[in-house]
Symmetry: none
Subunit: 205 residues, 4 copies
Amino acid sequence: MTTRGRIDKRQAILEGAFTVFAREGYAQACVQEIAREAGVAKPTVYNHMTDKATLFRNALEAAARTILEQRIAALEPLAAPTGDLRATLEEVAHVLLRLHTDGRSCALRRLLYSEVTHFPDILDIVKESGPDRLTQALADRLARLALAGRLRATDPDLAAEQFLALLLGPLEARTQLGTRQLEDSQLRVMAVAAVDAFVRAWGAR
Amino acid sequence: MTTRGRIDKRQAILEGAFTVFAREGYAQACVQEIAREAGVAKPTVYNHMTDKATLFRNALEAAARTILEQRIAALEPLAAPTGDLRATLEEVAHVLLRLHTDGRSCALRRLLYSEVTHFPDILDIVKESGPDRLTQALADRLARLALAGRLRATDPDLAAEQFLALLLGPLEARTQLGTRQLEDSQLRVMAVAAVDAFVRAWGAR
Amino acid sequence: MTTRGRIDKRQAILEGAFTVFAREGYAQACVQEIAREAGVAKPTVYNHMTDKATLFRNALEAAARTILEQRIAALEPLAAPTGDLRATLEEVAHVLLRLHTDGRSCALRRLLYSEVTHFPDILDIVKESGPDRLTQALADRLARLALAGRLRATDPDLAAEQFLALLLGPLEARTQLGTRQLEDSQLRVMAVAAVDAFVRAWGAR
Amino acid sequence: MTTRGRIDKRQAILEGAFTVFAREGYAQACVQEIAREAGVAKPTVYNHMTDKATLFRNALEAAARTILEQRIAALEPLAAPTGDLRATLEEVAHVLLRLHTDGRSCALRRLLYSEVTHFPDILDIVKESGPDRLTQALADRLARLALAGRLRATDPDLAAEQFLALLLGPLEARTQLGTRQLEDSQLRVMAVAAVDAFVRAWGAR
DNA sequence: GATGAATGAGAGTTCATTCAT
DNA sequence: TATGAATGAACTCTCATTCAT
């Protein structure tokens, strides 16, 4: 029970930190504000995390883990693609787009990009809870589909990479670097376009 | 001559600023260091630019302009695609990859991403000297090719968008968010793979 | 037993406190570290001592008392100076030097000097357990010797003061303000030199 | 002229620093207050001195130099001791006592003692501008007097050391570790007593 | 126009001290 | 009684920005 409060507070700090870092960036974010956001006093933050830097890393890691889990879960329909493959792909694509355009998701990308030179070790986050993992998971699914003869059976890793590229690449411009929200209908259109191209390029001949 | 010196100094300041901002990020960069990098005294920086913020915007704008020009120029071969279309596309793709993985280019992306929330007006840079312009220019070229019957004649804007997505999307993972340099041979492989998929998806039937 | 444990803990706290204060000085010493040194938790320190300041005073007092006792004991041989007076003085002088150059002794001096302006009441420690008391005790012994005709019978207080001055004064320079340990042989030489001058100045004509 | 202001300010900072350090001790002194004392803004202090530590060292050094000069000057009468040697010694002794009991002098001693463990390099100050130098200078004078047959011609270094010990040793107790001012008449008495013993111990037989 | 010097404002971090258990 | 956790108050140091020359 004693421990409970502790864990809650740690959680609150990590979430507050991510929120503030996301809003302000690493350098502009001030620990004072993070503490306020988490509803604790400044030294409490330091009792849990040694450093502003450590706080940053941990907050990023926690956020990345959560986000990755959602994305992996979004691939589920591909595990047993009943019926129309194209429809399944579109469904998955649509959900991925929605997840990818979510505020926290965009913020995480921004933070990773902007601080990767100051915190080279956040690359581990990218490797372990980032896009690499998603590509792998997708490649696994596509490999099954290839075996089942429903996709060109050459290189599932490349296929996964290109599926995600076709899907997410256009986002950057459309969302203005992640600052603008898109309508769900727009996302649907983008999903269809990406899947369309993907099927032309990778569908079973 | 006086005027000349002034212009030179302005140029030096803008370049020094971009260098330092690229290395440190907006907030961590300090005007002192920018001045040192540019070889002038700190107040001289303020004589040319009112603000650290203004300095940032101008430095970004100048860098973006230069970078965009190079990219647009790289599309040149597509204007008159002598002979093999696939080969031309691969050549263009290869050059684009090289430009896109260049240090300054990556730094610019990082800066845009990290500061877009604090400087919403840098979106103008993206629109006027960024990827949007490149996509447009490429779409123009592809439209010509479509008219010439060498590409599927449906939607050149979408084609351009997907060409760039297939080409540049995989870069993020391969360069570790732009922190790792790639061998030219690797770039060649990536160019071939992207063009291969593009041709399958968009080649004339 | 409980009481015993309490007393032990109090003792441990006082000793830990002196150790840390000696190493760090009053202001730099942090209660956390004192608690660690004493093997207790931080609030336990506050259960025994109201204040960091109180803790400081008590630790100093305890240390001073111990140190004074040793010094007074060192004067013992002068109570019944069998045989050669000069030899007895040299012996006493030697032991005093050794005590005076001891680490804890030097630390105590340092602490008294540095904090006397912030804790005027530690002057009581000096008066009750410090050099003043030693001078008095020595004066008592010298008075007896004067009565016995073995010393100039004028002013035993002055004699005691000058004996200690001749003995300890040179220490400051030789030990580099108490930071360097001296060889026992060096101490012997210093004792002899001090006694030599003392006897010339205060020996019975 | 530009430089003039700079030098003045540096001087003011060093003096303010010594004042505050003397009053508060190293750790308790805060740069803010030093700046106020010096009549400048806090960052100005940092423009002149890199560090609080550096500031401390420099302030100590400057104060030590000034103080040493005064003490050395006080030995002047011994250079050509016209007439009564005892009277000359008493005069010198008296002045030395006055210098030694001066507020700044006491403060310097306190600071040296209290911080020597944190700043081992301030031992250089002691060597170059502290008591060691004074002892040397005095030894030089006494050697001359020994040559002139007016002092026991054995060991002028030891003689100087013991003269100062007899003179300054009793100060510690009398001034309560340097916190109490003494009347000039008391100083006179102490000077006479010290010289008296010194002459008995070191006077030409 | 260019610069050395100065400053107001603010950030990270530490610490003595107090609750609640 | 002893302790893990939390906090208010300071303190060092940095930086964008402005004068005065």
